[in-house]
Structure formats: structure tokens, C-alpha cells
Subunit: 350 residues, 2 copies
Amino acid sequence: MKLKIAVLAGDGIGPEVTAQAIKTLEAIAEVYDHEFEFESAPVGAVAIDETGNPLPEETLDLCEASDAVLFGAIGDPKYDNDPSAKVRPEQGLLRLRKGLGLFTNIRPIKAYETLIDKSPLKREIIEGTDFTIYRELTGGIYFGEKQLSKDGKEASDLCSYSEKEIERIAHLAFKAARNRKKKLTLVDKANVLETSRLWRKVVTAIGKSYKDVSLDFLFVDNAAMQIILNPSQFDVILTENMFGDIISDEGSVIGGSIGLLASASVGDKSALFEPIHGSYPQAKGKDIANPIASILSAAMLLEHFGLHDEADLIDQAVERALEIGMVTQDLDKDSTYGTRKVGEFIADYI
Amino acid sequence: MKLKIAVLAGDGIGPEVTAQAIKTLEAIAEVYDHEFEFESAPVGAVAIDETGNPLPEETLDLCEASDAVLFGAIGDPKYDNDPSAKVRPEQGLLRLRKGLGLFTNIRPIKAYETLIDKSPLKREIIEGTDFTIYRELTGGIYFGEKQLSKDGKEASDLCSYSEKEIERIAHLAFKAARNRKKKLTLVDKANVLETSRLWRKVVTAIGKSYKDVSLDFLFVDNAAMQIILNPSQFDVILTENMFGDIISDEGSVIGGSIGLLASASVGDKSALFEPIHGSYPQAKGKDIANPIASILSAAMLLEHFGLHDEADLIDQAVERALEIGMVTQDLDKDSTYGTRKVGEFIADYI
Ligand SMILES: CC(C)[C@H](C(=O)O)[C@@H](O)C(=O)O
Ligand SMILES: CC(C)[C@H](C(=O)O)[C@@H](O)C(=O)O
């Protein structure tokens, strides 16, 4: 297969971990005789520093002209504590999602047996946990009108959703559930929000065409409890943008390491793959960042194009690295292996 | 002291647990020679069934004419799965908060040594946890304009905040931090929301008058992780309405039992005290509900009126009940004690 992959390594540890994902994809290309072409472009704080724009037009153009985007991380503390800053790195990511129409963010959450004791949660709570969050990514309060009154004393954000926006992601979520444990949980706040009531109505209606999937509802406050009280009850969780942001970061704690979690953001035409950890600026350039989440994002990329064996091989290589302790310090504080070393091991294994 | 207390027992297990809180307050009144007058009024599903209105006018009038409100619980499953229902029990609670101007919800979160092993989190994670959440309760997306388009295909909810709404709760939160570990954490989503940026600006400005309190910021998605990764880092958390709803329910899991957690909702003129557990309809009338959260809400009520010794005595009685295993089945599945028995023990101890 021939794939053109846009590489948006971004800020902080983004470039170092993405380099390992590329190394992995190159190994896969060699073994399976694929042709992967990589082209890089700036995004985030790096792009602001270079061009004044967190998502330069050429970057968006490159993504549109590519089959997929491999994304690193975004964010730099120098922009964080200035809420009045007109340009912020995160805008690059938000515009990219919107520009590419990436309306669904998919985050698998799994308890790895080898890491189960690293979780803040007890073993008996998390054993058997294996669910996926489908988070709506281009609507809701993230993209609704924002207002600040002239005198700066009143601010507002509008959360809005249309039937269509809900339908398209709901179909993806139901299909995913159909291929898994056949259970879909809609997380909302229908006892308070009008948008949530629309979600409930639309998702219930769509559920009628997926009779083999059982559908239930959970208020978001209750979901925030259930995810740590009894995470193995979930199969596919479907939710709107802001709730998904919170719930999926909460869920990322279960497995014991955020350094292992990958995500896919998909739309009708484009797809973007990124580790869920952020730019972790303190670790930048130190060769200590865990590259596995980025490598597993590459596996999700392959899976997305139907390259199941290739994706499986990466998963195997990762499991092997975990088993023999070929990991960075976040997983084993006595480890002497760095970002590059772990990436090399995985590429060599392949 | 003479206090007139409105009793809004509400739905599900509300009435049974509130009865134990009243018993406790009566014991306190006897020992300390106070005069507490109780008067009941309907709210929630019970009120809808009786009057068609989840917050009848007489109920609101009674609350306004009282020194404090003792609240039970609200919500009935028969209203939950009908998102289009025009009248819902929760509206009673929301209107009550708004009507009484209860702009701050205060929720202490503590790991009780005797219950620490009941937590889904590991002992070493939660040991030493003792923080309080200050949640804004009468603004934000809960009360902003809600719209549903004529064709029912578009819905929206407006989140808005004014400087004033933020200031009044921020002062309460800073004062609380000053009397505790002198650390305030503002939880927001300032990298995305205009309202969050206003929160950051206003809270930062107010922080200048509380130089002894250190102020830091956490994005809500990160906060959802930190609360389970390292809960003992927190002292006072300040946040807006919806984030507070999610974060405080998440935090309620830490201690190992939601049956112990009380809350206060305060405004300039009124104050309401309620257990944070919901109406738990499955347990209604079975004498199995844990009355301690309601009893501790009564202690918060006394504390609110400066009756520290009285509140301390209730805390002691509760600790004693926990120590000797005079608890309901949620805390000890082999226990044969019911709601009433635990309430009687605590009242007798006093
Ligand atoms: C960086 C930020 C804008 C982003 C979001 O809130 O969507 C991040 O938290 C995420 O979840 O990808
Ligand atoms: C019942 C519901 C409207 C309420 C809320 O969301 O505020 C509840 O969850 C709470 O936290 O008190």
C-alpha cells in the first residue's frame, strides 16, 4: 500500500516520540513492502514562533493532501498563563480538527496485565477493563460562539449540537460496539442540558437500527464515578466534546500509564493519529519521554487502512518491550533506556 | 440558639435519612439547650405528584422564611428516561438554588482512616487526602438560555459568567483556603473557553488580596486525572458549576463511601445542607440507606451558625459509629444495622 503521511510533530516531546513512530512505520513498510511517504509541517507553539500562526495554511494544505496525519503534541507553558493571549498553540489543534472535519475522537482504554500494579486503582477494580471512548470532536462548546463584553466583565460560550452532528458519530460508535461487546453507553447531562436531551433523542432513534447493541445512559457526574468504581462495566462510551475531554483523561489513569495511550481522530476524508499525553515540556530533549503511545498511534493508523497484520505486529512488539522491561523511566524508574532506545527495540523487533 | 429549619426530604431515601439527621439535631438541642423548630415541605418528584410542580411556591416561601434548609434527595427514575418531559424533579433543586441565591456549593472530601480500604484507589494514593471543593452553583451552563429549534433538530445551551458571580465565590474559597492549608486551585478550561479565561482573570486579581494563599490553575481534563493520581495535593478547589458537578462526584469516590459525604450550599441570605448521594430509589423504604451523610450535613448546618462544639460532637459520634461497626450494609455487608438503628446510636451517643 502507498500512503502519504503528514507528520505534525508539534511541541515539547512531540518531535522525539513521533520520530520513533516513524521509525516503526518504516520498519513495517520494509517488512510488508509498503510505500510510506512522510512530510513534516509545523503546528502549535513551534508554528507560532515560526509564523505567528498555530496552524499555518501550508500545514493544513499538506494534511488535506495526505492520506493521514501523524500528530505529536501541542502546548507550551509560555502561552498557558496568559489567558488574554490572542494566539494560543491549542488553537492550532482545534482548527486542524475543524479544518479536516475530524468529528470523532476514538480512545481505547485498556488495563495491560504487565502494568496493572502501576495503576492508582486497585487490581480487582481494573482487571478486565477494555473500553473505547467515542468523543465528538468538532462541535459543542469548543466551537460555539464565544463572547466577551466590551468592559470585559461578562463572558459566554455557546454549546450547540445538531441532529446531523450527533448522528454521524453515533453510527460509528454503534458499529464499533457491534464489533465488540455490543454495549453502548451515552454519557450526557440530560437532566440539565437541552443539547444532552437532543443527544439522547437522536441516539435512541439510531439505536433502533442496531438492535443487537444494548444502549444505556449515564449522567456525566455519575459516569465520572463509575469509571473509577467499576470500569470493566463499559464497552463503548459515546459522548459530546467537553464531557469526552474530561472523561477520557480520567479514564487514561486506569491503565497505570498515560504514556501508552493512543488515539485516532477521524472524519469523512481525513484521519489523524496522536498519543494522548501532552507536550510534557519538562521532558523535552531529554530522551526520557515514553514513545509507546506515539508508536501505538501509528498502529491505529495502519488499522484504519485495514492493515490489521501490520497493526498487530506493532502491538506484539510493544507487549514484548513491556514484558522484558525495555521501557522508559515513567514505567520503571530504574530503567536506563531512553526514548530512542525503546523505539529502536520496537523497530528491530519488527 | 433558636433556629427555624425547613425540612425538604424529597424523593427516594431522602425522607428516611433526613429523619435521622433531625433526630441528631434534636439530641443536640437537648444537650446544648437550643431551640430548633422543624417544618417540612415537598420538593422533587414527590412535589410533582402532589402539585404538578417540583418546587411549589409554599416550599420556596418556607425556605425563605427559615434560617436553614435540611435537604434530602431528589430524583425518580420514572422521570429520567423521558428527556422531553416538561417537568422534571431536578428542576425543583435547580430553582431552589437559584431562588435562594445559593451560589456556592461546598463539598469536603476526606479519606477516613477506618474506611480507607474500601476505596477503589490504593491506600498510598489516598492517605492524607483532605480537600474541599467550592463549586459555583447558580450560574454557567446550568442556567444559561436553552434553545431547541422548531424542527427539533438543533439544540443549544449557553454558558455565561459575570465578574461579580466569580468574585463572590472566589472570596469564600480564598477565605476557606486561608483557614486551611493555604492553597487554592482553580479548575477551568482556559485554553478553550472564554468564560474560563474570565474566571482566571478575576480569580488572579482577587488572589492579590490573599497573598498568604498560593493560587494555581489546572485544566479540567488534567484535574480529572490529578484527583485520582494524587488527591492529597489539593487543599481548596474552586470551579464553575458544570466542572464542579463532575469533579466533585469523581472526588466522592476517593473516600470509599459516598454514604458519608455531606455538602453545604450557601448564599448571602440562605443556606442548604444535603447529603451528596442521590435518591437511590432502589433502597427506598428498606431501612438500608446510610444516614451518615445526612447527619454530617446537619453538622455542617451547625458549623455554619458557629456552633462548633455541637458540630464536633456529631463528628465524634459518627467516628465512633464507624469504629465500632455501627454502620449500614454499604460499609459492612455483614452488618445487620439499618438506617434507623445507626441514627439512634448517634443520637444516643450525643
Ligand atoms: C489541548 C486541548 C485543546 C485538547 C482538548 O481539550 O480537546 C486536549 O485536551 C485534548 O483532549 O486533545
Ligand atoms: C440533580 C442534578 C441537577 C444536580 C446537579 O447537576 O447539580 C446533582 O447532580 C448535584 O450535583 O447536586
